[in-house]
Structure formats: structure tokens, C-alpha cells
């Protein structure tokens, strides 16, 4: 599980959107589960789910229909059987027939996450996944993400909640002005900078990004 951190405007969302095939990278190449995104976009996208920071839902589909739509789109044969447990896990069962306009910001976020999880992708890209969730929802979401990672999914998590990144991620990628300024396990990053020894991620992050300014 990779934590992607950086100050505002660093390029986190742009990076995630490029990995998800929403925008094309100006340089380099991206492969998802061995499929180059530029040459085999369909196969590559089949392997991933992107959950944006601002959930963009279809105004006219209910919660349940969003999942059915995604199930069909990704060819999830047992989607009807998976939808109920997923909605229960995300506490959306009561809202399964609701349109997005009837959902709170947090519920919309949960639905976007549910859509991302339905086809059990090997690569999960999350951009500020806890925005709008209540404390209970945040805890369950942390557990859900961790469980997916334990089950073998590669997770890229972008968040300004550094304690979340510290708790969940095994590796960190710190970017600033579109450039990598640190990459590796937290201990490795600190080991390369002895002056940061003994400090938490927040201090390390601030030190790293202030260096660059």
C-alpha cells in the first residue's frame, strides 16, 4: 500500500488521474497488472478502480443501480450477490433505492467507494477516500482498505490525513511541484535523513516539503 502525499498543488490528483487513464501522461508509461495503459487501456482499466476525492455520481441512477451498472461494465458475474453485502459493509443498505440527490456527502463517498470495490480490482487508487465520512465511517473505511490490501490488492492512497497514511501504508511517495522528493518505507526515508530521526510522519513531511520551497 503506497501513500501518496504532498502539499496542495503538488500533483497528487494529476498523478492518480494519469494512472487511472483519465488523462495521458506527458512523459513515461503506465502499466496496470502488466498491461500498458496506452496500448491496452481496456485490459489495464479492468484491473483498477479509481475513487476520486469528489464523488461524481450519475444523477439518475439509484445506489443499487450504480453498482449494477459497474458490475455489468466490469463483467462481474456474481454482482447481484455481491451488492447486498457490499452495501451492508458500507452502511448503504437503507439507501439502495435512493438517487444521489438524496444522499449526504459521506454517503456519496461511500457509494463511490462501493463502486470501486465491487469488481475486486487488483489495483485500487484512492484520492482522499475519507472526505465527508463520519468517524465511524472513517474507521470502517480504513478497515476495508486494509482488508483489500491484505487480500493482495495494490493500493495507492492519496491523503492529507498523514496519520491515516502512516497507519495504513507500507511505502510513501512524497511529491512536490510534480517531482518525487522521497520514496520508500517510512523508516528508509528517515534513515536517509538522520536529522529527522525519531520524528513522526507529519514532521518528516513538513521538513521534506519545506526543504523544497
Amino acid at each position: 500500500m503506497l501513500g501518496l502525499v504532498g502539499p496542495n498543488g503538488a500533483g497528487k490528483t494529476t498523478t492518480l488521474r494519469a494512472i487511472s487513464g483519465i488523462i495521458a501522461p506527458t512523459r513515461g508509461s503506465i502499466s496496470i497488472a502488466g498491461h500498458p495503459l496506452a496500448k491496452e487501456p481496456v485490459k489495464a482499466k479492468q484491473q483498477l478502480a479509481f475513487i476520486p476525492d469528489e464523488p461524481q455520481l450519475f444523477e439518475y441512477l439509484t445506489v443499487d443501480e450504480h453498482l449494477r451498472f459497474i458490475g455489468r461494465m466490469y463483467g462481474v458475474a456474481d454482482a447481484p450477490a455481491l451488492i447486498q453485502p457490499l452495501l451492508a459493509e458500507l452502511e448503504l443498505l437503507e439507501k439502495q433505492r435512493a438517487l444521489p440527490t438524496e444522499l449526504s456527502r459521506g454517503m456519496k463517498q461511500k457509494l463511490a467507494i462501493a463502486c470501486g470495490l465491487l469488481h475486486d480490482p487488483p489495483a485500487l487508487i484512492l484520492d482522499e477516500p475519507l472526505t465527508g465520512l463520519d468517524p465511524g465511517g472513517m474507521r470502517r473505511m480504513r478497515e476495508t482498505i486494509a482488508a483489500r490490501a491484505r487480500a493482495g490488492a495494490a493500493v495507492i492512497l492519496s491523503s492529507h490525513l498523514l496519520h491515516l497514511v502512516e497507519e495504513l501504508c507500507t511505502k510513501l511517495l512524497v511529491i512536490h511541484h510534480g517531482r518525487t522528493i522521497a520514496y520508500g518505507a517510512f523508516d528508509e526515508i528517515v534513515a536517509e535523513r538522520p536529522q529527522l530521526a525519531g520524528r513522526g510522519l507529519e514532521d518528516v513531511f513538513l521538513a521534506l516539503t519545506s526543504d523544497q520551497q
Partner: protein
């Protein structure tokens, strides 16, 4: 505080015009403005032949009664329909800044009335131009003032009624007692409308022309009870229908008194309208957003509709999921309902003429065929159940594991199929009503053959027109409105005219190869009976091939698009 509100209004207007002016530096907006102004000049300003005041006085009089009835409907509607609470709506920024500001409710209401006046004044000017060919002999300033008084009265009444309704919700019986007189007026108006329409229905049913319908309503409105209840609406509209200057001055006095009376009523009603205003404002903001995005608004309050769905197999062509999603959108925005309603209306109207040999059947068939033609030209512009309404979800669409061409194809089909279905229904109506007509220049067998071939023909044509519309949205998003337009003016209308013209031209160009090849085929098969059938099939095939090629190109364009 008044200065602050005036400053807010003045600066907002100035900035809006400044933004529009800056935009004109871009050639596309400058060209659009020229077209928009040209359209306005042609429709509203262009000198017309003939003398003013030559319209039939009797028709004018009859229409005055219909207008009075219309005004009565609007006034009563203010009391009956909950949607009329929109009169209390403010903009999101006004809510955020003015409601917490140290302003009295009365000041807020006065500000609202002031803002309403800006719209009313603009509309009054517009109507002076619109009605200048109506036969009125009045000078333009008098027509303007008459229209201003009419619109102001309607606006004030709508706001007053909304405040009373809010008070009733807030205060229950106490509010009921307080506003009883106003409610009695509203109730009486509702009864009057029902009464007049009931009396007029037999005459309207027997009418053969618009003039006879107006005369029927006129006769019903002459009954004593109706006359009494139409008294007030007649006073409001009287200046607009005055035939002489002296008549206008006499009528204007009464209308102005009503304006003042309603102004006092609205300003003095100290109703706690804030909560209702917040709700109405949120609803208005959503409607404006939907309108700007050119998508119909969903109706989440109707639980019954949300339960209605269509099955989707878990496994199959993923593109079908796009069509499924868009079809659900059609169902939930009432667009399918209106389309089916339109078709059902055509069927109901045509039922008595099925198999007839008279002109009635031909009239219905002609009307149905005209509608089919209209749908060919404008159907794809009106029904945007495709990429154009999905453009807001570009990021989501781009993450879907679907090649661009298949996605674009699915979006195109989502609009083309419903349009074709409606056209087929209309063609069937045209065919059915002329079943017994043996004197038509086209034989029954040929009509039947055309009907059988129409699905292929219509589908190929609709797929072409919808693809052109989607191509415009994908290739020239600045010209086809797929994103919200802020501060739109005449140039936005010009932009629409230009886009429509270019799209029609593209359609004609797309038709040319199909026409040329099919004509060649027809000519080469000139000795073969019913060779035209082969030619039509070839034309449809050429159109579909062109579209297939275009969709693949658009698919590649979609894959390169960035939100």
C-alpha cells in the same frame, strides 16, 4: 444598507456585461453575437409591411378575454401550486451574504422586488417589440407601461401568495385567519376558471378554428358570475389591450392602483420566510444548474419512479450498460413519458379517422409525417440522451474498461433508438389512418413496403444526426453547450443558431454520398421492378458505414480527451 444592495446590483450587472464584452474578443463569441443580434433584428425589430391597427377588432377583443382568463389562471395558480414557492428563491450567494446580514425581512423583500423589476423591465421592452404587429395603435411607451404594469402585478401577486402560503405553514390556524381574505380571492378565482371552462367546453369541442374557440370562451365569460370574477384580471390587462390613448389612460389608473395595493400587501406582510426561501433557493439553484447543463432535472421526491427500473444482466456487452443507464435517465426525467404521451396523443386523435377516406385521415397522416420530418431534423438536438449529457462524467467514463468507439457508439444509440421508436409510431399512425384511402398517389403496397423498411431508414438517419451532434460536443465543446454557461447573453443564442446551422450542413454533406450511390444503384436497376427498395437499403447502408467510420474516429478522440 440600501446603498450596499444597489452597489451589489449595479456592480453585478456591470461585471456581467464586462465579462460578456471580454468574451467577444474570441471570434466564436463575436460571430455568435452578430448572429444573435441579426436574429433579434429579423424577428423583433425589422420593419414590417402593412398599417398598424389593421388587425381584426373582434379577434383582438376575443383574445382579451382569453388573456384575462390566462391572467386569472396565473393568479390562482400562485395559490394552488407548491412550485410557486419559487417566488421566494434567492441566489446561493444572496442567501449566504444577505440572510445573515443586518437586514430586516422587509428590506430583503424590497431587494427581491427591486431585482424582479430588472427582469420585468427587460421583458416589457421585449414584449413591446413582440406585440408591435398585434394591431395595437398605441404609442410604444404606452404599450411598454401597460406591459410593465401587467408583469409587475403578476410578480407582486406571486410573491404575496408565496408569503401567505409560507405563513400558513408557519402559523397554522392563526395564519389562516390572518390571510383569509386573500385565500378567499384565490379560491373564488379557481371556481371561476372551472365554471368558465365548463361553460365553454361544448363550444370549444364544436370549434373548427382558433377564432371560434376564443368566441366560445368569450361567450362563457359573459355569464354574470364569470364576468364578476374576471373583473380584476381584466383591470390588470386593460392597459395592454387599450385601443386608444384616452382608453389607455383610463385603464392605467386602475392597473396602477392594483400595483400599489399589492406592493403594500407584500411589503407589509411580516412573514418569517427565511426557511422557505432557503428551500426554494436550493431548488432553484439545482434547476438552473440542470438547465445550464442541458439535462432535465431528476425528481428524487417521487419514490414511485425510483422503484421502476429495467433489468440488466450481470454479464454481457459492457456497452449495453451505457444504453441501460441512459434509458433509465430517460425514464426518470419524464422525457420518455412526454415522448410516449406525444405518440399516444397522436394515436388518440387519429383513432376516429382510422380507415377513413376523407380529409381527416389525410390531415392526421400529414401531421404525423411532418412530425417525423421534424424529429429527423431536430430530434437529435432536443433529445440529448448521449455523450452530451454525460460530459460532466467524463472522468468516470474514461476509467471504464471500454474502447472509446464502443462507448461513443453506445451513447449514440441511446438517443437514436428512442427517436426512431417515436418516429416509427408516428409512421404507423400515418399508415393506419390512410388504410382505407384508395385515392392517395402512393399505393397501399408501396406504403406498406415503406413502413416495413422505415426502421432501417430511420435508424440510419437518426444514428447519423446523433453522431453529428456528439461529434460537435467531442470536437468543438466550446460551440455546443455541454458545460455550464455563465453570464450568457444574445451571443449564446447566436452560438445556438450557428451550431444548428453547421450541424444541419454537416448532415446534408453526410447525406450526399448516400444519395449519390443509391441514385446510381437505382439507375442501374431501372429495369428491375421495385429496384427503389434496393436503392433505399443501399442509402441506409452508406449512411451507417459513414457513421461507423465517424464513431471510430470519435472514439479515438474520446480516448485522448482530458477532463
Amino acid at each position: 444598507m440600501v446603498e450596499a444592495l444597489l452597489y451589489l446590483t449595479g456592480v453585478s450587472i456591470r461585471n456581467r456585461f464586462a465579462m460578456q464584452a471580454r468574451r467577444l474578443r474570441q471570434p466564436r463569441y463575436a460571430l455568435a453575437l452578430i448572429l444573435g443580434v441579426g436574429y433579434f433584428w429579423l424577428v423583433l425589430v425589422r420593419p414590417v409591411g402593412g398599417q398598424p391597427g389593421r388587425a381584426s377588432t373582434s379577434l383582438w377583443t376575443n383574445f382579451e378575454t382569453v388573456a384575462a382568463l390566462g391572467v386569472l389562471l396565473l393568479l390562482v395558480g400562485s395559490w394552488l401550486f407548491s412550485g410557486e414557492r419559487m417566488a421566494l428563491a434567492f441566489s446561493p450567494a444572496e442567501l449566504q451574504f444577505l440572510f445573515p446580514a443586518p437586514l430586516t425581512r422587509r428590506a430583503l423583500i424590497l431587494y427581491k422586488l427591486f431585482r424582479a423589476q430588472l427582469v420585468i423591465l427587460f421583458n416589457a421592452v421585449l414584449w413591446v417589440f413582440v406585440l408591435r404587429r398585434s394591431g395595437s395603435v398605441l404609442a410604444a411607451p404606452l404599450r411598454f407601461l401597460g406591459t410593465w404594469m401587467l408583469f409587475t402585478n403578476l410578480s407582486l401577486h406571486r410573491l404575496g401568495a408565496a408569503l401567505v402560503r409560507t405563513s400558513l405553514v408557519e402559523h397554522g390556524r392563526a395564519g389562516l385567519r390572518r390571510h383569509l381574505p386573500a385565500m378567499l380571492i384565490g379560491g373564488a378565482g379557481a371556481i371561476a376558471i372551472a365554471f368558465i371552462l365548463w361553460e365553454a367546453i361544448p363550444v370549444i369541442r364544436a370549434a373548427r378554428a382558433a377564432r371560434e374557440i376564443a368566441q366560445g370562451i368569450e361567450a362563457a365569460a359573459e355569464l354574470p358570475a364569470a364576468k364578476a370574477l374576471l373583473f380584476w384580471p381584466r383591470l390588470i390587462i386593460a392597459p395592454s389591450f387599450a385601443q386608444t390613448t384616452s382608453e389607455w389612460f383610463r385603464a392605467a389608473g386602475a392597473a396602477l392602483v392594483i400595483v400599489l395595493a399589492q406592493l403594500i400587501w407584500v411589503v407589509r406582510s411580516d412573514v418569517a420566510f427565511e426557511e422557505a426561501a432557503v428551500q426554494a433557493s436550493a431548488e432553484r439553484a439545482r434547476r438552473i444548474d440542470s438547465w445550464r447543463r442541458r439535462s432535465a432535472r431528476p425528481r428524487p421526491s417521487s419514490r414511485k419512479e425510483v422503484k421502476r427500473t429495467i433489468p440488466l444482466a450481470a454479464i454481457g456487452n459492457p456497452a449495453a450498460a451505457i444504453v441501460w443507464k441512459n434509458t433509465l435517465l430517460l425514464m426518470r426525467t419524464g422525457r420518455v413519458g412526454s415522448m410516449i404521451g406525444l405518440a399516444m396523443m397522436a394515436i388518440v386523435i387519429s383513432l376516429p379517422t382510422v380507415g377513413s377516406r376523407g380529409l381527416d385521415g389525410r390531415f392526421v397522416a400529414t401531421a404525423a409525417l411532418a412530425m417525423v420530418g421534424l424529429l429527423i431534423v431536430l430530434g437529435s438536438r432536443v433529445l440529448q440522451n448521449d455523450f452530451r449529457q454525460d460530459a460532466d462524467h467524463l472522468a468516470t467514463l474514461k476509467t471504464l474498461p471500454l474502447p472509446g468507439a464502443r462507448l461513443v457508439g453506445a451513447e449514440v444509440i441511446s438517443s437514436a433508438l428512442p427517436i426512431a421508436a417515436l418516429q416509427l409510431l408516428l409512421l404507423f399512425v400515418a399508415f393506419a389512418v390512410t388504410l382505407g384511402d384508395t385515392e392517395l398517389p402512393i399505393s397501399f403496397v408501396r406504403r406498406a413496403a415503406l413502413l416495413l423498411m422505415s426502421p432501417l431508414m430511420l435508424l440510419s438517419v437518426n444514428v447519423t444526426t446523433v453522431t453529428i451532434q456528439n461529434a460537435a460536443a467531442l470536437l468543438f465543446p466550446g460551440w455546443v453547450r455541454v458545460t455550464p454557461v455563465v453570464g450568457g447573453g444574445i451571443e449564446v443564442m447566436g452560438q445556438g443558431i450557428l451550431a444548428t446551422g453547421m450541424l444541419l450542413l454537416t448532415f446534408v454533406i453526410a447525406l450526399l454520398p448516400a444519395i449519390a450511390i443509391s441514385a446510381a444503384v437505382w439507375w442501374s436497376l431501372s429495369g428491375m421492378p421495385n429496384g427503389w427498395i434496393v436503392a433505399v437499403v443501399v442509402a441506409a447502408g452508406v449512411l451507417l458505414a459513414e457513421t461507423w467510420w465517424a464513431i471510430h474516429g470519435l472514439g479515438r478522440r474520446f480516448e485522448k480527451m482530458e477532463p
